[in-house]
């Protein structure tokens, strides 16, 4: 299936969870936050949250800013 990940097309196996996405991106050790279709997915829900075709996923982190 295809999702939109941080504004770009991204292909995942069908039924992939948020946890599966994080693992495939090798972001498991990093501090990130995720929203799917403009709703927060808490870190504790990553293993339960199954992504769907066309989901708009944003994965963010902290950077320097004023």
């Amino acid at each position: 299936m295809n999702i939109l990940l941080n504004g770009e097309n991204h292909t995942l196996p069908d039924g992939c969870t948020a946890a599966g996405l994080v693992e495939s991106l090798q972001l498991g050790e990093r501090r990130i936050a995720m929203e799917v279709n403009k709703e927060i997915v808490p870190g504790s829900q990553y293993t339960n949250h199954i992504l769907a075709e066309g989901d708009k996923v944003e994965v963010v982190h902290a950077i320097g800013g004023g």
Binding site: N6, I32, I40, V60, H61, A62, G66
Partner: protein
């Protein structure tokens, strides 16, 4: 001589010894970020929330390693947001990123040239965030009526600009800043527009509770030295405010006694 002891800065029930808050943008690398932040003595530091670089440079230094959340109070901002929706989404992502930490700096911008706040959407976003249990420190213009309105909504601190973000122009409207301070029941911090240490001191002399700055330090030729200068400027201005300056007079007033002259 009496030594007046200052009260700590109190924001959302937490005491801070430093009245200087600093941003973490525009530094050349993480080392400079760390050194300048340390030199500033700041306890509250702003951060931005941005898309992770997927698949790029997995070993890039992480800001949260440079400025650990157990040492600094991190203040995620909504910089770059031009709509209520984007600002609220950013705050919710930040709260998730920082394990439920709910102190945020709200800014909803109206225009790329001035980076002045869009006040209508700022108020709208503040109302949503306060209802959602965020502790909102809000960037606004130097309008006393709006500042009071933001306080009434439930913002924990109101942060009027001194001048446009990154302009270094210093306080353009000191009388309005003074009025905002006099009206306020929450901390008032000047946010944006400071250029050098005397600007920071001037803000504190007007009675502000603190100053938030980024470019004035990060953009200086020697950021770490400027961070130290700003720390001192804030402290000097605060002490001068507490000490109570002399009134301005048009004519002279001799410092040496007139009595006892032998000539």
């Amino acid at each position: 001589m009496t030594q007046m002891t200052d009260q700590p800065l109190l924001i959302a029930g937490v005491e801070y010894q430093s009245r200087l808050l600093v941003g973490t943008g525009k530094y050349k690398d993480m080392d400079e970020t760390r050194l300048a932040t340390e030199a500033s003595g700041a306890e509250i530091v702003t951060i931005a929330i941005r898309r992770s670089n997927i698949g790029q440079n997995p070993d890039e230094p992480n800001l949260l390693d440079t400025l650990p959340p157990d040492r600094y109070t991190l203040l995620p901002n909504t910089a770059g947001c031009y709509t209520t929706e984007d600002a609220v989404r950013t705050c919710r992502l930040a709260r998730e990123l920082l394990d439920g930490h709910s102190l945020v700096k709200l800014e909803v911008l109206g225009d790329e040239k001035t980076l002045f706040p869009d006040i209508i959407q700022t108020i709208e976003a503040a109302e949503i965030l306060v209802k959602d249990d965020f502790q909102v420190m809000v960037y606004t213009n130097d309008d006393p009526i709006i500042a009071k309105r933001l306080e009434e909504i439930g913002c924990v601190a109101v942060m009027p600009l001194a001048a446009p973000i990154g302009s270094g122009l210093g306080i353009q409207n000191p009388n309005n800043i003074r009025t905002i301070v006099e009206n306020a029941a929450v901390p008032i911090l000047v946010d944006a527009g400071v250029g050098t240490a005397s600007d920071a001191a001037a803000a504190m002399e007007l009675g502000c509770d603190g100053v938030l700055m980024n470019t004035a330090i990060a953009g200086a030729q020697e950021p770490v030295l400027m961070a130290s200068a700003m720390k001192k400027g804030i402290e000097a201005g605060r002490e001068a405010y507490l000490a109570g300056r002399i009134p301005r007079k048009r004519f002279a007033s001799a410092s040496s006694p007139i009595d006892g002259t032998f000539f």
